[in-house]
Amino acid sequence: MDRRGHASAQWPITDDLSTLRGQVRGYAALAGLSGVRLQDLVLAVNEAAANVLDHAHGEGHVQAWHDERSVTVEVHDRLGQLVPAHATAGDPGVTTLRGRGLWLMQQLCDEVRITRDAQGSAVLLRQEINGLPKA
């Protein structure tokens, strides 16, 4: 951590998403996010982590860092089967029960990006610190 408090952080993904939300909320609040935009980021991370539980055997971790302008949280799985095409599905409509997670992340965050490497897939979620709620 440098003297302006630019620490990065890492947390495991477990069944207990409530604890993860608390960790992300605390980190992002210290970094300068507040109110709706803070809650939006926390919800987006929750959605990405729930997907790791549902679609990637629950194995993954979350990394967070920030600078003066934004807070970034990356939700990693080890399976590596999430691809950018998964994020283009759009709003499924009220007659479909599932399939809202990736759509919702895109409504909540300033930037949503899906990446893949030898270690697995990841969703990058970024919130500008002085932005307005997206929607």
């Binding site: 729930a50 009220v94 029960l97 909540l108």
Partner: protein, 121 residues
């Protein structure tokens, strides 16, 4: 924080009842939806047709929670019933709006008002 479901308007005398209220408190997420699903399954088994879900005390709700609400709507529509939501706070309302399901449910400020609307109809 955990999650609780309280059942109101049930069956003190063992009778089934067509209107049931579920009062949700805490955080509704991937880990807690099974509790809500269990309460819903019990309501269906008890011949519930109209369900009022009081979310006044709901501190968090994610897309998993929304899936379960939509599932209840589908299950009760199949028996010509309904799901009403009471007491949505600004956060839950926002999540409903952003996922495009805000108009899928009748909403009321309080469960008492939801019950009054049902009796009037």
């Amino acid at each position: 924080m955990n999650f609780t479901v309280q059942v109101e308007g049930g069956s003190a005398d063992g009778h089934s009842s067509p209107v049931r209220t579920l009062v949700l408190t805490g955080e509704l997420d991937h880990g807690s939806v099974p509790h809500l699903q269990k309460a819903l399954d019990k309501a269906y088994a008890d011949q519930c047709r109209h369900l009022i879900i009081d979310v006044t005390g709901l501190a968090f709700c994610d897309s998993t929670g929304i899936s379960v609400f939509l599932g209840a709507r589908r299950a009760l529509a199949a028996r010509e019933g309904s799901v009403a939501l009471a007491g949505l706070n600004a956060r839950v309302q926002r999540t409903f709006r952003l996922t495009g399901v805000a108009d899928a449910f009748s909403t009321y400020p309080t469960a008492d008002e939801a019950r009054a609307a049902l009796s009037a109809s």
